[in-house]
Symmetry: C2
Subunit: 337 residues, 2 copies
């Protein structure tokens, strides 16, 4: 790119910002990316909610994934956390490390996907930093959101007797990743083209549950998004709340594609439950709030499924099979380490 | 590290957080890093100031720099921006991408340096994300700060007649980087050991001017930190303010070490003025505020030097030699692109 901008009047980074990222900085507080920092007047009576999550080529996505999908995923993994906490998006900062061979077409598509989602989720770009790297493409986003003062939904509020819920379906992205790494799996799992496409798409671009944020504030006693797998994330929620949880595996919602795969290879349940990248919401709801929670989710056309309940005990989670036996997993949670 | 934590009870990332980073999360809103997000109640009447800047091994620091210095630099480059805008630090998010061979000793030292500065500048860790990378070590920090509503100091407020000031000394870090890349320069530049140490230290660990933030809000019409070189950053300030500026090169403050080097090789003035990494403050002060600005800086023991003035015109900056002739630079601003 160095040869494509006017060295006399602007630096390469200025050119990048001008060409691709300024259109995403629609919030007046971004100062059109023409100052060192962004500035926002907090909405009175609201708390600031902060999250950072990075995606790295070869770790969280494939370097040859479509650039627009990479842009979307980088933002959405952060939006998913804001949603789980009951927060509305306010905007985001982005720090972008680009390999030397990143071309203008790639950047245009990346900024296009990112910008479409910034508009869709009302989460404009507030500021950023762009650097060259010798390593893989890395997108670190820090998202800011807002909740009415004191209403952020924590991991730590679950109480014995509360019911466990998840949004959407579980395990699709983990199975999609397996398929992406080993396309031969499709035949072994008895999956047709559309089923494969569904699972691959679920890995490629998560669906943050932004619309559910207000209902979580109203009805959930605890919540988090499922990014490292249902089993591991539920264990974290249990630890934070000092409770146990029992999950009935047969109640876990599967997509049609995942159900087909699980029928062909029942061992895949471990992948589905521990593999990560769901970006669905796991929450606990007091019994007397369940009807209202269901009604609110139905109004938003978001599927929510009761998968078990919170029980008293020492901070663990049990997954029970149809016979009521606890199933153990070899690798309870996804971790990059 | 994978072999050093208890896989049964916590993931590798949980172990890293527990061992190294939780002690830095002293703000109650960090929720001890045990939730998905941080949550802060904004101080009433204040605006939120947001900045992200990343440092990458081989780009912004050397992979074999001391780990504690890398931690300090990663935070300080962001604190420098907050200071220039008149903001007080509130806290920071960190996204850390670690090569596979990063050891426990390195992490302990990195977290130690970062934590010491987080305490020193009252800028606690609020949340983070840790990943493995195949590439160079990358630390992306997003800092949040606060200014009384409407008082953020922008780049765009400079007016003809205002005087130009810089804090500290200019060019040390750029000369330090040259020395680091080519230690033979020391002899050519006539530098003794302590002079070399001074320049190398200025590259290794910047000194954010956090203490000056309030005075900038009170007395400066425009300000920014100098990260890409005085020449390039002044050009940005001029563009944002739609003004010109004249800098008298002989008034630019040099350290004793830089002055020695410039005496041996007058061409080094270009390196000093365009090389970047100063992390000093460039600001413009209306004439009737200069005495008060000087007094405030003196009270804080921060050197501030008048280097020129703002003039009407078309958004450029001129550097004038002792004879009043404009000097042009081959490469006006540092850019990674």
């Amino acid at each position: 790119m160095a040869d494509r901008h006017d060295e006399k009047s602007m630096s390469g980074e200025d050119f990048l910002i001008d060409a691709y990222f300024r259109p995403l900085a629609t919030h007046p507080g971004a100062l059109a990316l023409q100052d060192d920092t962004a500035v926002l007047a907090p909405p009175p009576g609201f708390d600031l909610v902060l999250k950072t999550d990075a995606v790295i080529a070869g770790v969280h996505f494939f370097a040859d994934d479509p650039a627009d999908a990479i842009g979307r995923k980088a933002l959405r993994v952060n939006l998913s956390d804001l949603a789980a906490k009951g927060a509305s998006p306010g905007g985001f900062l982005m720090s972008l490390a680009l390999p030397g061979d990143t071309g203008a077409d790639w950047l245009r598509a990346f900024a296009g996907g990112l910008g479409a989602d910034a508009a869709r989720y009302q989460c404009p770009l507030l500021g950023g930093d762009t650097d060259r790297t010798q390593g893989p493409l890395t997108v670190s986003i820090a998202a800011v959101g807002w909740v009415p003062h004191g209403t952020m939904v924590r991991r730590s509020g679950a109480k014995p007797g509360d019911r466990l819920f998840v949004t959407g379906t579980i395990g699709d992205a983990a199975l999609g990743l397996r398929l992406r790494l080993d396309p031969e799996s499709a035949a072994r799992w008895g999956l047709d083209g559309p089923s494969c496409d569904h699972l691959l798409a679920r890995y490629l671009i998560p669906q943050p549950r932004t619309a559910l944020a207000q209902s979580l504030r109203q009805y959930a006693s605890a919540a988090m998004d499922i990014s490292d797998g249902l089993a591991g994330d539920l264990a974290k929620l249990c630890r934070a709340s000092s409770v146990c949880a029992d999950v009935l595996i047969r109640q876990i919602p599967w997509s049609e594609a995942a159900e087909k795969a699980l029928r062909h290879d029942p061992n895949l349940v471990e992948t589905a439950v521990t593999g990560g990248d769901d970006y669905e919401i796991l929450c606990t709801v007091p019994i007397d709030q369940i009807a209202a929670f269901h009604a609110a989710a139905a109004q938003l056309s978001i599927d929510v499924t009761q998968i078990g309940e919170v029980v008293a005990g020492n901070a663990a989670a049990r997954f029970l099979d149809a016979a009521g036996r606890a199933v153990t997993f070899d690798r309870p949670a996804f971790s990059h380490f």
